[in-house]
């Protein structure tokens, strides 16, 4: 590249030469700075809308902070003590983990099976793959409204089918475990097909994609849309069932901050607690996948030596 720009020389004329020099310097600056310039939008945006808010959550959680009146005095760990003394918080944590387990485990197993089936030498391959992806374009909110009706306690289709085969109706909205099953069903409906295709892609080439799937699955601990919509009678600021039987941590966080209490300090404390939980699980997962990766790497090395 550099040699090309040195080619056109006009010995007698001085001014054009200086201009070439300028352009050369500009060009070198262009080569040096452009890579950083191109990746900067992500880093700037992540710093402002991702990293800073997450870290500043810790600061807000140590203050009395009202949605309407703003920042109050420093209160130390009071918000955490308050939150941890609320039975509602523990209920929300229990619900979150229960829904998470009921949705993640069957979903990954089913996705692996469908991915294996789709990996066969199929006729009309694209058609089947598209069919699997259909639920992904339906918003979680819409999915929850449809399944909320199917799992309605009185006039729902699921209970009608159950009574036809002689099973007494289930309180899908009132019973704790039943409501978790119904909500997990919504999550599974929307995400199984998507994860099937991603697993299929990962099987065929990209190993890093496995990391992305697992982290997005752990992100499922922030579930909000489905349980909020599953409560058909209440607005988002009070949703979660009459007795909080399917309120989740993120719903609790929202209701503390933007519900009648307007307590952003406590809301931030809940957010930070959930963040620590997710961080801990992610680290365990990272350690675990790393071990698996290095183990299979060792196997591969051993095989190579043998052959």
């Amino acid at each position: 590249m550099v040699t090309i720009t040195e080619l056109p020389t006009r010995p007698r004329d001085v001014r054009p030469r200086r201009r070439i020099g300028m352009r050369q310097r500009l060009g070198r600056w262009d080569v040096k700075v452009s890579p950083y310039l191109y990746i900067s939008p992500f880093f700037v945006l992540f710093a402002i809308t991702g990293l800073f808010p997450l870290l500043y959550t810790a600061v807000v959680s140590l203050h009395k902070w009202n949605l309407l009146t703003g920042e109050g005095p420093f209160v130390g760990l009071k918000n955490y003590v308050d939150v941890l003394h609320q039975p509602f918080f523990w209920k929300a944590l229990r619900n979150t983990f229960s829904i998470f387990a009921l949705s993640t485990i069957p979903q990954i197993i089913i996705a692996l099976v469908i991915a294996a089936v789709l990996n066969a030498n199929l006729r009309a391959r694209t058609f089947w793959r598209m069919g699997v992806l259909v639920p992904y374009v339906v918003a979680p909110v819409a999915v929850a409204m449809i399944f909320g009706q199917i799992f309605s306690d009185q006039s729902g289709m699921m209970n009608a089918i159950l009574s036809k085969v002689g099973i007494s109706p289930v309180g899908w909205h009132s019973n704790v475990l039943a409501s978790h099953l119904a909500i997990a069903n919504m999550v599974n409906y929307r995400w199984t097909g998507y994860n099937t295709l991603v697993i299929l892609a990962a099987m065929q080439a990209i190993p890093n994609l496995i990391f992305v799937i697992i982290t997005s699955t752990i992100g499922g601990l922030q579930i909000f849309d489905e349980p909020t919509m599953f409560d058909q009678q209440n607005s988002a600021t009070t949703a979660g069932g009459a007795d909080g039987q399917f309120v989740t941590v993120t719903m609790y966080l929202y209701q503390l901050g933007w519900g009648s209490q307007n307590n952003l300090g406590r809301s931030a404390a809940v957010a930070w607690l959930l963040f620590l939980v997710i961080l801990a699980i992610s680290l365990v997962n990272y350690w675990f996948t790393n071990r698996i990766a290095s183990d299979s790497g060792a196997v591969r090395r051993a095989r190579k030596v043998r052959s």
């Binding site: 191109y38 992500f42 992904y136 009706q149 299929l200 922030q222």
Partner: protein
């Protein structure tokens, strides 16, 4: 798994074994050893029916009346005749349907275009340009996909308040302008899809760094970029939590998912109206999916194969 190469098999086990191994390898490339039998297609058909039925159920309920729903919890497979009536009453209800639709279109379109542009820029830089810190910075980008940024909601809300953006669309658009997944995805794709020779040729011809990106990298990135754009569109069209927090459940200034929750809370006794709302909100994405789904699916696989 590292299988022994065909020439080495020929050397150690004879020509017949090598031919058999080659045949096996060719088959593995296109999927399974032979065409799958009816069991595979039965499983896939069941999966497809499960994927489609809830949407059809919403359509069935949306085309009937409140009384039909109460009388027949299991709807007949033939739709009723009240679809347009129900859709009209959703459109004319007090949830601000048209403005919610327009807002959703604006948010999804702007973010999709911006995600594609910024992710391709960053992906091009990571995949094809050499600069100091490239490796660690890329690892950082992938690691950020594990960070639950939704939990920074309280400070992010405060940032938007400082910027006087509460209740305004830029507050929804700003955090979604570029994603870590997008950067990772375009890096993977461009690594394989864009030959260095093309970039060098453009540089030798005197194109600036940005000109090279614009006329060489961007066109080469088109298949993966189309897919990324569609995914970003869907993600923002279906997003509920952040628009709810920053726009609020206020008719006229929200997006469709938030408006749907208002519809549900106002009309929870009339399921056919609620389902009409669901149907109207799902329809645009469903049409888009039927038109572009082939690209969406092949995009996932293509990105995988090239990566």
């Amino acid at each position: 798994m590292s299988a022994p190469s065909i020439p080495s098999i020929e050397q150690f086990a004879g020509r017949g074994a090598a031919r058999a191994a080659a045949r096996r390898q060719n088959h593995r490339g296109s999927g399974a050893e032979r065409r799958p039998r009816w069991l595979t297609y039965t499983i896939l058909t069941i999966v497809l029916l499960i994927a489609i039925y809830p949407l059809y159920y919403a359509f069935l309920i949306a085309s009937s009346t409140k009384e039909d729903v109460a009388r027949h919890p299991i709807p007949s497979l033939v739709p009723g005749s009240h679809l347009f009536e129900n859709m009209l009453s959703v459109i004319n209800s007090d949830i601000g349907f048209w403005s919610a639709l327009v807002n959703s279109i604006i948010v999804s379109t702007v973010t999709a275009v911006s995600v594609v542009l910024f992710s391709t820029l960053a992906g091009y830089s990571f995949a094809k340009l050499r600069f100091r810190g490239r490796g660690p910075l890329l690892v950082f980008v992938i690691a950020t996909t594990a960070i639950p940024t939704q939990l920074g909601v309280v400070p992010l809300f405060l940032v938007m308040k400082q910027l006087h953006l509460i209740g305004k669309l830029p507050a929804v658009i700003l955090p979604a302008l570029v994603t870590a997944f997008g950067v990772f995805w375009m890096t993977q794709y461009l690594e394989g899809a864009l030959p260095y020779e093309l970039i060098e040729a453009a540089r030798v011809d005197g194109a600036s760094m940005f000109r090279t990106f614009w006329s060489i990298a961007l066109p080469a990135a088109r298949p993966a970029a189309t897919m990324l754009g569609l995914f970003a569109f869907v993600a923002n069209w279906t997003n509920y939590f952040w628009p709810l927090v920053v726009l609020g459940a206020v008719p006229g200034r929200t997006t469709l998912p938030v408006a749907l929750k208002m519809l549900q809370a106002h009309y929870y006794a009339d399921y056919s109206q609620v389902m009409a709302g669901v149907f109207v909100s799902v329809l645009p994405l469903l049409v888009m999916f039927i038109l572009a789904g082939r690209q969406l699916v092949s995009g996932i696989m293509q990105g995988a194969v090239k990566g």
